[in-house]
């Protein structure tokens, strides 16, 4: 399905996986996240194969999949408290601050089921941001977002790179990232 791919994400670096539908962008991200085993080749993080300590590797990245990974029955704040709380201990005000940052302060007590698709994407990005992981794996982060949302996520990605984090993302169209120019990796059909 996918072969001959070599991708490297350095600290403060952004890789943009591009290519037509079905070219394997999502598959590559799922391989990098450890959901799929590559038939050939290795994936290393910090110089060590990811299989050496899978839980430690998982803790080092935050993954945004096609689905937002939110519980429809839980409120925006509960979703953040649970999913980020699994990874690190959250301060009392952190979820509310993150929700304000993504423009969901007024919807913090709404269940994810009643949020629009764009709002759910913003909430999922708030989760990615709050996780504070050094690596972000983002699958189409701009899907369903309005122009303000696209600008917001671009700024969030820029801030992650400024902190010395790395971002690997699959996107059909990539808006400009403030102060950074992503390295484009084109996957064939």
């Amino acid at each position: 399905m996918l072969g001959g791919v070599s991708v490297e994400a350095a600290a403060g670096g952004c890789v943009h996986l591009a290519g037509p539908n079905g070219s394997g962008k999502t598959t590559l991200l799922r391989v990098l996240a450890g959901f799929l085993e590559p038939e050939q080749g290795t994936i290393t993080w910090g110089g060590r194969p990811i299989n050496a300590d899978r839980d430690a590797y998982h803790a080092s990245f935050s993954y945004l999949a096609h689905s937002d990974g939110l519980k429809p029955e839980l409120t925006a704040r509960e979703n953040l408290a649970f999913e980020v709380g699994l990874r690190r201990q959250l301060g009392a005000t952190e979820p509310d601050e993150a929700l304000s940052r993504v423009g969901l302060a007024a919807a913090r007590d709404h269940t994810a089921a009643v949020l629009s698709a764009g709002q759910r994407r913003r909430l999922a990005m708030a989760r990615v941001m709050l996780t504070a992981a050094p690596l972000w794996l983002l699958d189409e982060p701009f899907t369903n977002l309005d122009s303000a949302g696209v600008a917001l996520v671009s700024t969030m990605i820029g801030a992650q790179l400024d902190r010395g984090g790395a971002v690997l993302m699959a996107a059909h169209q990539l808006p400009s990232i403030p102060n950074h120019s992503p390295r484009r990796v084109e996957l064939g059909p």
């Binding site: 799929l36 029955e73 709380g85």
Partner: protein
């Protein structure tokens, strides 16, 4: 940044599943309703003679509890799989086996514990004497724990399948037979005034074995299903 300790992460999963059950109480109450209905229908079908009902009460209560447990177990991972939260749990950096154990414990609290609590009530209608109620509750408690563990393995294995419920039953029911045999026997012995210590200890041993081995098996099955 402080990493969440394993116990806190497992507690989060447990509390979240209980909260979801409260918000979806109609779905969570299905096994309890099934158990209550089946055990109430038997006296109507077999006749009101408590002496006759007493002879088959252990079997009726246990078969009803077994099938009621199976009803709930199919949904153990499905909703999390569909909305993507299961994937997020898998890459949370916490040991998946421990998170699966927390989900299993929440499932037992939601589906198994209510059966234990209601069993004395429905047992009265089947002529079970008061002296046997403790054994009944203990055996159903141990048995539903075993079924939650076995069911979690089956549920994780059939996660990616569209019509997984039939396969789930075929996978879990044969494994649950020893628990059914010893559980029903324990209740029967208690009804007849004998000591049910032997079968209860065997059930407890089975529960320890299931709870020890199931989390690792569930984690492996979930990783396969996620591919």
């Amino acid at each position: 940044m402080t990493t969440t300790p394993l116990v806190s992460a497992a507690t989060l999963v447990y509390r979240r599943d209980l909260l979801l059950a409260v918000r979806h109480w109609g779905q969570a109450a299905q096994p309890l309703m099934f158990f209550a209905m089946v055990t109430t229908l038997f006296p109507l079908a077999l006749g009101p003679d408590l002496g006759e009902l007493r002879q088959v009460a252990g079997g009726i209560l246990w078969v009803a509890a077994l099938l009621a447990s199976l009803l709930g177990v199919e949904l153990l991972f499905r909703a999390d799989h569909v909305d993507g939260t299961l994937e997020q749990m898998m890459v949370s950096g916490q040991p998946l086996a421990m998170l699966a154990l927390a989900k299993g414990a929440a499932h037992w609290t939601i589906c198994g514990l209510p059966l234990v609590l209601i069993s004395p009530l429905v047992a009265g209608g089947l002529g079970v004497p008061g002296a046997a109620l403790c054994t009944l509750m203990l055996s159903i408690g141990l048995g539903t724990g075993i079924l939650s563990a076995l069911g979690a393995i089956g549920s994780a294995l059939t996660l990616g399948l569209r019509r997984g419920s039939v396969l789930l039953s075929l996978l879990v029911l044969p494994l649950a037979m020893p628990a059914l045999i010893f559980g029903a026997r324990a209740v029967d012995m208690a009804i007849h005034g004998e000591s049910a210590r032997g079968p209860l200890l065997l059930l407890a041993a089975m529960l320890v074995l299931a709870v020890t081995l199931a989390p690792a098996a569930v984690a492996a099955a979930l990783r396969i299903s996620a591919e």
